[in-house]
Amino acid sequence: MTHIKKDKVAIVIISHSPDVASGAAEMVKQMSGQSVPVKAVGGDFEGGLGTNVEAIHRAYEEVYCDEGVLVIYDLGSAEMSAETAREFLDQEKQEKIIISHAPLVEGAVLAGAVSAGGGTLEEVKSAAERKTDTEEILHSSEGNIQSVKIRHKIGLHARPAVRFTEMAKGFKAEIGIKLENQSKWVDAKSIVRVMSLKARNGQILNLKAEGKDANQALNALIEFVQNSFGEEQSEIE
């Protein structure tokens, strides 16, 4: 059942500044190791600030893989250059190159983490484009609270965290999550927040939800955690 992937989703970082692009790429590599292909493109033709369609096109060709490429850029004209360069590729390749509006550094690092965890292009994209959470539920003492123990040898890591948040987003209810021994609730629909819990095997998660489908949401999410995030694994606990 487990789908074995040959490649990880590649990341292209485009900035007007060569230093910003390569610096961000360095941060991605620190988080994700060598497994994720990352390419930094920055600067104009003379190495000054700007963008260069030719160089971006070359970067696409270099890192392209069947799993896809997530492109993250800094400012407006870089987006235009990113789109223009993509149009020079075959239709089939174009479809697997997604240009994301994610914040450059944070988006790239998160994308790298999820890609390293084997995330799909869509998962990598939604990780990069996390939304800031303002849900009131997180601060209220109301709501139905349930607890569940993590039963997965590497905890709530990148890939299940993506699935968990995607599942949470399927419900209208506001959903909060935290570790049992923590006091601060975070948004269960935010991949960044969920991953930052660093929830490990054996730890207890608290979940609470408020809204029409709150009970359904809690039941589904609890079941998902209880079933080791739907992943096959030989050694539970």
């Binding site: 700007g50 369609v53 004209s77 235009m80 250059s81 223009t84």
Partner: protein
């Protein structure tokens, strides 16, 4: 449209951009990143260097090559935008020849691609504020059966008015939009470079027909 006229147009475009390079960069330094003149000049210089090759091509191939060169050599936002404009025109050529009656359709094709590329429309303080009034004017003049001299004069006039109108606009696209209200009071450098190019192209036709 013959090779000689095409070569002349390229020469005039290159010349006008080169002559106004500093002016365009100065406009861009007020509301942008101060590279418009330099960037465009590099692009039109490259086209000029290719002009004997380009002028031997069919009109659609020549426009495509022009657009592609701008995309590759100009950089920033203006490379993809001007590139889209010329390549968009190439897509709307009829029978691979340029005749006056088809020119508006070609221009609208180019404008449409600029709008798509820039996700923008008229009134946002961009090159479109020059190009759209110029295209409209050209369409009207042709419908009225104006002579070439009147067409050229009135198209330039419409482009000038359009370009000038960007002065009182608040920028809603590109780097200038970061300035918000402070972008008001300055002419948009892209609107100005479009005006210059329209003038250059009209001038080369003028010279030819007199």
């Amino acid at each position: 449209m013959n090779a000689k006229l095409f070569e002349l147009m390229i020469f005039e475009c290159q010349k006008i951009i080169n002559d106004n390079q500093r002016y365009l960069t100065e406009l861009d330094s007020k509301i942008g990143d101060a590279d418009h003149g330099n960037n465009l000049n590099r692009g039109f210089q490259s086209i000029y260097e290719l002009s004997s090759e380009i002028s031997q091509m069919s009109p659609s191939a020549a426009l495509k090559k022009t657009g592609m060169t701008l995309v590759m050599k100009v950089g920033g936002a203006s490379g993809p935008l001007y590139g889209s404009f010329f390549m968009g025109m190439a897509k709307h050529i009829k029978n691979d020849s340029i005749i006056l009656e088809h020119l508006p359709a070609m221009l609208w094709g180019g404008i449409e691609d600029v709008q798509k590329r820039g996700k923008s429309e008229a009134g946002q303080k961009t090159m479109l504020d020059t190009l759209i009034p110029a295209a409209k004017q050209l369409e009207n003049e042709i419908e009225q059966g104006s002579c070439n001299k009147d067409i050229i004069e009135n198209v330039i006039k419409a482009a000038e008015v359009g370009c000038e109108s960007t002065k009182t606009m608040k920028a809603l696209k590109g780097r200038a939009s970061y300035l918000g209200e402070r972008s008001i009071g300055h002419i948009d450098p892209g609107a100005m470079s479009s005006l210059l190019l329209i003038k250059a192209i009209c001038n080369s036709i003028d010279v030819k027909n007199e």
